[in-house]
């Protein structure tokens, strides 16, 4: 382990920008995911009849079905959003920082 390079990276403003951006993004998405899940639970807790209400009186499909399936899809979509930004923007920034300090 060569400490100087780690300190150089740490001191690099672009590294700090990367860390701040990525952390904020990761925590934001985590809070959205947990928030959606919690909201779903609270809905079941306080308004269970709402989830059991038919969307359309002629059809047996209740609001609970699209909401439940939507939650599953949102987990997938949120991971997709994170991977897209992390593997694109963040990794590119990361690569340029590493190239810069290793010169």
């Amino acid at each position: 382990m060569n400490d100087p390079i780690y300190e150089r990276i740490q001191a690099n403003p672009r590294f700090q920008e990367l860390v701040a951006k990525r952390e904020r993004f990761a925590w934001l998405l985590s809070i959205i995911m947990l928030g959606l899940y919690l909201a779903f639970i609270i809905l079941i807790a306080f308004e269970p009849q709402l989830l059991g209400t038919r969307i359309n009186p002629d059809s047996p499909t209740t609001w609970g079905i699209p909401l439940g399936v939507g939650l599953i899809l949102s987990a997938f979509v949120l991971t997709g959003i994170y991977v897209k930004r992390a593997n694109g923007e963040f990794d590119a920034l990361n690569k340029s920082i590493l190239e810069e300090v290793q010169q």
């Binding site: 995911m33 989830l51 059991g52 499909t61 599953i72 990361n94």
Partner: protein, 552 residues
């Protein structure tokens, strides 16, 4: 209102209990010998043993053995993670829950999924950037090797042991039920096969067994869902209205029901599920099989997609079973109960939509599913012993690859013998609590130490060691004193600890213990450990110095 909320949280928490119950509790009716199922299973075993042979020729170094040399792609690893996570018990258990309660089954499966995005956002890439073979590599990165690796190895082994017992007993029962094979024969067979995969094929073979199993399970379930939808002309409204017509609960299957005991246990189990997944050694190990953080992220993306898709399929399958199985007297006994119990709903549906050949296929897939899960567990247990205990603690990091691998292989055989022994020993025991306990321990010992080692600069060896041990001891202790073990297993009248799942308390104790014994640690070594946080942090963020793929 609050009570209602707690009750709902409770619903989330019964999930693992149901899940474990899906592992087929108690006595099962042995079915007649199912020839087509056995033939298909033999084909699966033949194919996987061939892969094991192929993998054994490529396994030359420790990195090959533990992590397939980091050569697995994100997509493959995503499938393998899904294969590791979707157990036979969850397939049969969730579809059975939908079959009996409808919408509750969907609520329940969501609880298992929401932990995955959080693992991606907060853990996956740091873990990949810092670790090499086991999660203890990460936890002990800047702390004292001996102490932290011993703690992590203990945490891993305890989790693996409980999980393995639950899987072995479930496997024996399931095979007895599906194939008409004797319980002991089934347990020995599972033990021998898993040892073969892990011993000769290492992580490469284990990964491919999991991938094949995931593909088989997903295609089998897709086919069943497709046939169900075809039956109702691809109209969900028809599916639901037909189900409401024939289900004894009627319209209630379309809204949240209630299956809760006490709210504290419920919340506790919810926590165990959410954070336990992030502390399961066999799941964490999968992140080291890919080449870098980029692929690690992709793995979670694909895994979340496959697992979510699978849960949607089981929901359709459960409704399909209401339509096609509950209305067919051929699948019921004299009293009107489902043959072999409600856990057989999906299996009977396979017969209803695809005939006996497809029934054989689904039965073989269920068996394959168990093999994939136990192989991953065995490999994680063996690496905790050889990489953490032997190479890092006993030999102080000076062991050579060859010796380390030998220890790993000896451990694999020992674990196989142990698993068979425990499987036979626990045949008649109540094992429903074991999966919940494994998750509770993972959430109370492995997760806090791992998480804080990556996120909290002030963590010291003393804090991690004392806090982590407290979490481990509290989780196991409270479980023993709780209703499941103290009353149901040991036969006492009254439980000393009133709640079924300890995670709420044991996680709080672990975090508080780690915090207190870290901030009060003023030793010189603690100061050095805090100073090492900087390079660790930079590496975890940038991947600089991370172990890469091994070139072949």
């Amino acid at each position: 209102m609050i009570a209602r909320l707690l009750t709902t949280l409770g619903l989330m928490a019964v999930a693992p209990a149901l899940w474990a119950a899906g592992a087929l509790e108690g006595d099962v009716q042995r079915q007649p010998l199912n020839i087509s199922a056995i033939l298909m299973f033999v084909a699966f075993v033949g194919a996987t043993l061939y892969i094991t042979y192929w993998a054994s020729k490529r396994n030359t170094s420790a990195a090959d053995y533990y992590t397939a040399g980091g050569s697995i792609t994100g997509f493959q690893n995503g499938l393998a993670i899904a294969g590791d996570y979707m157990s036979a018990a969850s397939f049969l258990g969730i579809s059975a829950l939908v079959f009996t309660s409808g919408y509750d089954g969907l609520i329940y499966s969501i609880g298992f999924l929401v932990g995955w995005p959080v693992i991606l956002f907060l853990i996956a890439e740091r873990l990949r950037n810092l670790g090499k073979f086991t999660f203890a590599d990460v936890a002990s990165y800047r702390l004292k090797q001996k102490e932290i690796r011993t703690l992590s190895a203990c945490g891993s082994l305890v989790v693996v042991a409980f999980y393995l017992i639950a899987q072995m007993v479930g496997a024996g029962k399931l095979i007895e039920l599906l194939f008409g094979l004797n319980y002991h024969v089934a347990v020995v067979l599972v033990g021998i096969l898993m040892v073969c995969y892990v011993l000769f094929g290492g992580m490469l073979a284990t990964t491919w067994v999991q991938i094949i199993k995931a593909v088989l399970l997903l295609s089998g379930a897709s086919f069943m869902a497709l046939m169900v939808m075809k039956h109702v002309n691809f109209d969900f409204a028809t599916l639901f209205s037909e189900a409401i017509k024939v289900h004894p609960k009627g319209e209630a299957i379309m809204s949240p029901g209630g299956l809760v005991k006490d709210p504290i246990s419920a919340i506790s189990l919810g926590l165990a599920l959410m954070f336990g997944t992030a502390g399961l050694p066999h799941i964490l190990m999968r992140f080291f099989t890919v080449s870098d953080a980029k692929e690690a992220r992709k793995s979670v993306f694909y895994a979340t997609g496959f697992i979510g898709y699978f849960y949607i399929l089981t929901f359709i399958i459960g409704f399909g079973a209401i339509l096609l199985v509950s209305t067919n007297p051929a699948f019921k006994d004299g009293t009107g109960a489902l043959l072999g119990g409600n856990n057989m709903a999906a299996i009977h549906l396979a017969n209803a939509v695809g005939g006996s050949l497809f029934l054989g296929f689904i039965s073989a897939v269920a068996f394959a599913t168990i093999l994939a899960v136990v192989s991953g567990l065995t490999l994680a247990g063996a690496s905790a012993v050889s990489h953490d205990l032997y190479a890092s603690v006993f030999k102080k990091g000076k062991a050579n690859d060859k010796d380390e691998l030998r220890v790993s292989k000896i451990t694999t055989v020992c674990l196989g013998v142990l698993a068979i022994g425990l499987g036979i020993l626990f045949e008649k025991q109540n094992i429903a609590f074991m999966v919940g306990l494994a998750f509770s321990i993972a959430a109370s010992c492995n997760f806090p130490v791992l998480f804080l080692s990556m996120y909290w600069k002030k963590l010291t060896t003393r804090g991690a060691l004392i806090g982590g041990s407290l979490g481990l001891i509290t989780a196991v202790g409270l479980m023993i004193l709780g209703p499941t073990v103290w009353v149901q297993v040991l036969g006492n009248a009254q439980a000393v600890f009133p709640y079924e799942y300890p995670a709420l308390f044991s996680m709080a104790i672990a975090f508080a213990g780690i915090w207190f014994f870290s901030i009060t640690d003023t030793s010189a070594s603690a100061a050095e450990e805090r100073a090492r946080f900087l390079p660790q942090f930079v590496r975890s963020q940038t991947g600089l110095g991370a172990s890469g793929a091994v070139a072949h």
